[in-house]
Amino acid sequence: MSYLNITEVESAVTSLAAVFPTAELIELPEPSVEGRAAHALRIGTAERGANDAVVLIGGVHAREWGSCEILVELAADLLEAHRDGTGLTYGGTSFTSAHVRSILDELDVVVFPLVNPDGRHYSQTVEPMWRKNRNPANSGGDPARIGVDINRNYDFLFDFQTAFHPAAGPRVSTDAGDLVYQGPSPFSEPETRNVRWLLDDFPRTRWFVDVHSYSEDMLTIWGDDDNQSAEPPKNFRNTDFDGKRGLAGDQLYAEYLRQADADDAGVLAEEFCSGLKAVRGRGYTPMTAFHLYPTSGTSHDYAYARHIVDTDKGKIHGFTVEWGKSFHPPWSEMEKIILDVDAGLVAFCLKALTL
């Protein structure tokens, strides 16, 4: 075995859809900047949209290679175990055939393993440390200024210079030469728009997990500041707090999150970590995304913010997995990490069914 190249991530997805009647191939509406098609899988026995959905995405940051394999192998595990009526064993973590059946019967599991194919291809064949997509539109012809950070391109506090305190030091940039360049406008990138489309196309999405590396953490919202559940007016839409967000441990601002939602997010993050830990003892930490510095335009904050901005949309709990301790570990180590994270994700899905 070895890491999957971008052709193989695509053919893994299409081959699973061809072999398993419980897998439906979903073509994303937009090709990447370099013209590559993208596909997702819906896994479930019910009609599309009949159940609540959990949407899992990976391959957003080009160099975090193993995220794609984590999602491809998870899909393969669930489909094969369901067809054959078996359970799944990941090291010390086991799930019964009834567990597998309940996930497929009661959820739409939507798996989109490679959001940024151009970036992955460039990272796997040219520059291993590449992070962004490969959009040259804002580069002025300078190769060092190519690419947008897709996970800063969502519509959440996109105007960070207005939103944050001058001393907050958000990890995002308006400079195309920067590694965390946000792009010229929210959803300027086709890769980001594909993720939004997926959430729109599954209006019953209640959980969203973006798989990244690294740090062995399971992140919950928010990423722009500390959380609080006591003062609803302190929220990302309130312009009274422009220029005050993003400082740690201060009294100026903390982002409002309903207590019940904070509790549910914490329960799911804990469940992910305990399912993962039982595999071989790796201790991932459930924590909110804000730590030391704020971020804007990230997927998990956008996913949750949607129902606040547009009350017609359903509430989505957003999460980000940060697996492992390096961007591309030797494949032999990556296989162990895949077992860890997939066990955590199965546990996450089972817990989600109870909420």
Binding site: S2, E8, L16, R63, D84, M129, S215, H328, E335, L339
Partner: protein, 104 residues
């Protein structure tokens, strides 16, 4: 293939503000997330050229080299990426890494 040199370093600052200022001013490429030490220090991993390390060195900050040539390590990993398409044969499909176990 890239040819330039990148160091993987752990940047440890004596407190949160020192690390925050360093990240704000030097804007290094970072990996992983900040970690707090028992002594109140904060650290994070960074990927920098030898020239960029000079911008990180300052009062209250120590650097530990974790990988003297992260670019070479990356190129080694590129050799662990599949070639062609292992799922091209009609019956080829990923099987997942979990054991498929019949219920006891």
């Amino acid at each position: 293939m890239s040819t330039y040199e990148i160091l993987r370093v752990r940047v440890t600052a004596k407190d949160a503000e020192t690390l925050r200022a360093l990240l704000r001013e030097a804007r290094p490429d970072v990996g992983g997330r900040p970690r707090q030490g028992d002594d109140g220090s904060f650290s994070i991993e960074a990927y920098v050229t030898p020239e960029q390390t000079a911008a990180l060195e300052r009062e209250g900050v120590s650097l530990t080299t974790l990988d003297e040539d992260a670019a070479a390590t990356g190129r080694e990993r590129q050799a662990e990426v599949g070639e062609g398409d292992r799922f091209a044969p009609e019956d080829a499909v990923p099987h997942g890494l979990a054991l498929k176990v019949t219920d006891a």
